[in-house]
């Protein structure tokens, strides 16, 4: 049986399949469907310094093979995470990763410092790509100087694994990836959602309260694959790929394009069994192709 484990910096993941931030809560919420210990890891809902109510309803629009969301980082703040959520997850045998957000560099630093204290959180995913907040978020992810500043600042206060989550709403994603690498990021994850919009023709109104929202799901997969492949050719740090993964075949496509691990987000809304199916599907793919480990696939696209 093939070895599904992979390494991102100094963390060994059982398998390359993680939950994507904002789509599986803090893990506990999906326990009815998913044995959390069978996952490579759980990237939790975006966390900010202070509690946030997020944007007004409606926050969601279905689109062809995808959806727009405009949740806007609704969460109870990092204190609540440390006090009420961390104790409940710290003994579960998988890697829990905190998705760190902020409106200012100071906020990113403050959240990171709180998380740094938590023994059982081996990594943070620095979200510089949320398209659904007025301040911060994506603004940091679509400008090289801004990305440089925030990654540098966070790197200074964080000595565990630092993953930076990149925005696809950009002319050249490789430039941002290179900046993150240069500032000491241990890994980049991509893609966050694409800025999109939905219109209700009958009501002649935008569907979302915020007009625009973030596009995810299979619709974005070709764009995500292209970006993973581009970044793979541009940096040496490991890549965590995502965007529209619905099954093991999709996951393999990302790994071939250069991802060491993948995250699944929107897919769970359609099929809560998606993690189990994807992990076992990757296993049988490896067996069928007579491969001994995932590493034999990473970036191994034949040109």
């Amino acid at each position: 049986m093939a070895d599904l484990s992979i390494k991102i910096h100094d963390i060994l993941f059982k398998n390359p399949v993680l939950t994507a931030s904002g789509t599986c809560g803090f893990g506990k919420e999906i326990q009815d469907f998913v044995n959390l210990e069978s996952l490579g890891g759980v990237v939790m809902k975006g966390t900010t310094l202070n509690p946030r109510e997020g944007n007004s309803y409606p926050r969601m629009a279905e689109t062809p093979s995808g959806m727009l969301n405009a949740v806007g980082l609704q969460n109870k703040g990092v204190d609540n995470f440390v006090r009420n959520i961390y104790p409940g997850i710290k003994d579960i045998d998988t890697h829990f990763i905190v998705n760190v957000n902020g409106s200012t560099i100071e906020e990113y630093i403050a959240v990171t410092e709180r998380i740094n204290e938590l023994e059982k959180i081996p990594a943070i995913e620095l979200n510089i790509s949320c398209p659904n907040v007025k301040e911060g978020g994506m603004a940091f992810g679509v400008s090289c100087p801004a990305a440089e500043a925030v990654v540098k600042a966070v790197r200074k206060v964080y000595n565990k694994t630092l993953i930076v989550k990149l925005s696809p709403n950009i002319t050249s994603i490789t430039e941002i990836a290179k900046v993150c690498e240069a500032q000491g990021a241990d890994s980049v994850s991509l893609i966050n959602t694409l800025l999109g919009m939905a219109v209700d023709a009958e009501k002649r109104k935008p569907v979302l309260s915020t007009v625009t929202g973030g596009l995810s799901g299979p619709a974005v997969k070709p764009i995500a694959l292209r970006m993973v492949w581009q970044v793979h050719n541009a940096v040496k740090i490991p890549i965590i790929g995502m965007g529209g993964i619905m099954n093991a075949t999709d996951a393999i496509e990302f790994i071939l394009a250069g991802a060491s691990a993948v995250q699944i987000g929107t897919g769970i809304f359609k099929d809560p069994d998606i993690f189990e199916k994807t992990i076992s599907g990757i296993e049988s793919y490896l067996d069928r192709h007579k491969l001994h480990s995932i590493s034999e696939l990473i970036g191994k696209l034949q040109m």
């Binding site: 904002g22 789509t23 969301n69 949740v71 809304f269």
Partner: protein, 284 residues
Amino acid sequence: MQQVAAFILLRNILHRIIFALKSVNMRKTVSDLLLIDNKQLNKDNFLLKLQSKTPLSDIFPGQFVNVEIKKATEIFLRRPFSIMDVDYENRTISLLVKILGRGSKVFTEYIPGELVSVIFPLGKPFTLPLPNDRILLIGGGSGVAPMLFLAKICGLKPEQVHMILGARSATDHVDISEYEGLANLYYATEDGSKGEKGFVTHHPLFTHQLESFDKIYTCGPDPMMKAVAKEAYKRKLFCEVSLENTMACGFGVCLCCVEDTKHGNLCVCTEGPVFNINDLKWQI
């Protein structure tokens, strides 16, 4: 009939205990259910019956299912529908599906024998009435589904249960004669073609006797529920409504379905769909 009523009462009490013990933590599952019946009730409404291979867990009025509609190119997300009835013995659940858009349309075209992927049971149910309560159920459109389910399993005597059903016209009302023994049924239609003319809130039972009820439950179009809530709130009556905010996941992870409540943005799929009107920001 009396035996049946006694049985229902017993089951209801049992349910209430189980429910309290589990504190609404019934395990959600995703499973392929077999469509065993699909009956067109009128132009836009269909009654779909789905059968599980395994025994059903306890299901309460107000809870819903989230259905994958695979057979259409352009549907991406699942579609939520309230549970209208449960038959534990035959392991079936019934849904009342009204054609609204593309997803509901294709769902009503499914043929018995086909498998349907369903996530259930979802959401928090209505608060069950106390044995001596006099209750008023108000259903509009497909919102009659959870009302009928509640009437059926509430365990009260028929004279304690009053139900007003609203629709645009007589032909939009579905046939619910099988519920006649369980409750006092009243109708309202906008064109007056069945029962009282006007909205449910124009029905004399509503306008003149509202305060005679201990609990009011409602499900239907937003404007209807808001009108009901307003009157109940004014009179400080117990009133629960079942919301139908659009959903992506249906099980509490996407935070898309939120309602702005007095306790902040709450997920309709997990903190609801049933809310006590005192928690909502509707009344003004």
